[in-house]
Symmetry: C2
């Protein structure tokens, strides 16, 4: 079996959303298609991947380094030991050849896209959903039938009124979610407290509300916010400060009862090891949110999970960032703590493919082979031209 082509395109994700740190008007993402020479139903079997969000598309790096390396490899170099499928670990080594250690950003997202498309292809060749492939290979087949998921939203919007926020939360609850997450830190504390109280009115309990600060606060602001939020007994406070300031995390951790969540801006196992060693996080209390796609993909995420468990944490403390479909399969197949969902199915990075449903805060497992991008029509639309050739 041979990889005959790799195609990519950059997709604008223009949106009026804003969090405390950036707005999304110029945001882009990459779509990647890996074409194999295997024929199914009169077409070449393909692996698809769609980017995570927040770090822009990865087209330049894919074209400059990672696609050429994989296309230049001999099929024997990436064949699995039976010669009937592709070995994602071998692919990973091929694309990372000639890369220096350290500097884990950008390329980690480009490699993550290739890794994701390879896993989609691997699962299609096995004729299984990806969650099943992962559970079979790495969990002895064990899997739960429902995946915990929360609705991520509550961005600052240009209109920005509290009634619109309450409406959004109500819609999420009607869609079947229980727990929601909203953005804070992009407005004065008093306004953020009104946003929090508005949402609490809708969800009923602090345990069903998490808040995301997008790493925006100084030490003083963080202490002020964290202290002010304690009485609400929220599910967690996410990224209150600069994500690489481990010592400040340690200080905040010591003054908080609310769980602390971080990791979405940590893109490699060596960086995660430093977070686990130096940030003072509590393994029975805090949450790790590394993004599978932005962190070199599933191959590196498996190394991250090994580190997590080496440090005495349960993988249930892992809630990957960004709520893309790849992430859903990883959460389901590897038994993680839960999935972040963007509930708006009209957005290409929100909702679920047909055949999946949300109820009581859990998402059902899909039976489509691979990741299932083909079953979400507005997302698959961005692949149609790439696949057609």
């Amino acid at each position: 079996m041979r990889i005959v082509d790799i195609r990519e395109s950059t997709v604008p994700l223009a949106s009026g959303m804003r969090n405390a740190k950036i707005d999304f008007r110029a945001m882009t993402a990459s779509a990647v298609v890996i074409v194999s020479d295997l024929r199914r139903d009169g077409r070449n079997l393909v692996g698809l991947a769609f980017d995570s969000i927040g770090r822009y598309g990865h087209g330049g790096l894919l074209r400059e380094r990672f696609i050429p390396r994989l296309l230049a490899a001999a099929p024997d170099d990436y064949a699995d030991r039976f010669g009937t499928n592709i070995d994602p670990f071998k692919v990973w080594d091929i694309v990372m050849r000639g890369e220096k250690p350290g500097g884990h950003g950008e390329r980690s997202g480009a490699v993550g896209l290739i890794d994701a498309a390879i896993w989609d292809l691997v699962a299609k060749i096995e004729e299984k959903p990806l969650w099943r492939v992962l559970a079979d290979r790495f969990r002895g087949g064990s899997v739960e039938t429902r995946v915990p998921a929360y609705a991520s939203g509550g961005h600052y919007r240009p209109d920005g009124d509290l009634a619109a926020l309450a409406d959004e939360i109500r819609r999420s609850r009607e869609l079947g979610y229980r727990r929601v997450k909203i953005k804070i830190g992009g407005a004065p504390l008093s306004e953020d407290l009104r946003r929090i109280e508005t949402v609490l009115d809708a969800v009923g309990s602090g345990d069903d509300l998490a808040v995301d600060c997008n790493g925006t606060f100084s030490r003083e602001q963080a202490i002020r916010y964290v202290t002010a939020l304690e009485p609400y007994k929220l599910a967690w406070i996410e990224e209150p400060v600069e994500p690489l300031d481990y010592e400040l995390h340690r200080e905040l951790r010591a003054m908080m009862a609310t769980p602390l969540a971080t990791g979405e801006n940590i893109f490699s196992a060596p960086d995660l090891r430093n977070l686990l060693r130096h940030a003072g996080l509590h393994r029975e209390h805090d949450l790790l949110q590394m993004d599978v796609s932005l962190s070199y993909g599933i191959v590196e995420y498996l190394a991250m999970l090994a580190l997590v468990e080496e440090h005495g944490w349960s993988r249930r403390r892992c809630l990957p960032h960004a709520g893309h479909l790849l992430s859903f399969h990883v959460v389901a197949g590897l038994g993680l703590g839960g999935h972040e969902s963007a509930p708006d199915a009209n957005s290409i990075f929100g909702g679920y493919p047909e055949g999946m449903s949300v109820a009581d805060g859990f998402v059902s497992l899909p039976d489509a082979v691979g990741v299932g991008i083909e079953r979400k029509s507005n997302l698959y639309a961005v692949f149609r031209d790439l696949v057609a050739t």
Copy 2:
């Protein structure tokens, strides 16, 4: 004054060099030209930047994000307070708009190129060498007339014999260098010891030889190497292990008398802060080698120097990685400890522009305005088409 165009091209750096971690056959680098609307001698005044080495060109990221942001900015947004020059700090904020925290790699090199070209332009507008601009702005004009420099080389070559290594070192000494650095860790310890002894025969003293392991060793290998190297009393041992494993650095530091050098794979102030806090490095003994160009440029490097001094280190402990011309100006203008030189002037990233000379381990200060790329003919050749249009 207005930036009217930004051009870039990717330059292959094909070379037979190899260190312990990667070979350089597919290595590339970016050349960047920022064109202003100021006229000098019948042409538009331009700022030039040439990449550092080891992390590939940055063309994709430049075209996707950083060049468009700067070209879209209004001249008032980047004018200095007198309106007669460009403010590099404002440019930095413009190009980093919409970028999330963390993930400091790749984009740090793309932004570093824009920052470098801007500083070249700023110095040309002031009609000064860049070292003079930096000394005037950040050191009250104080500057030493000679810059300590060492000759970096001793790569593994396909032919690889010791006589060739000894020849290379002799050539470096004849060129006026005293201290040299060679690669180790890409061969068995016994062979590396023969390489070291061959070089010691040529340079006479351990203090004139540093060794670079390119982050290749496991803990056990590192302990073996570090122990075996102690009797040679070398100038420093560079990157013995994975550059982000701060705890392992702390362990090695405690068992070494030889100075430990690291930092070339640390690309931001937040990452440097973690290195300074967690790696157990000794501020009167060890060396910091962050690469100016790969670390978001001079604007971020100034923030790094502030951190270095905040942690009680002298900036003399800083020896920036890679030996590019930008780095020379930073070392000279900001009073750092020394400059890494690639001695081979036939290489586009080696040697110095005309008018600069090496003697007794020191390099003279150039008087050409800006960085002086125009005065190194084989390097300027890669810019000719970019500048011509």
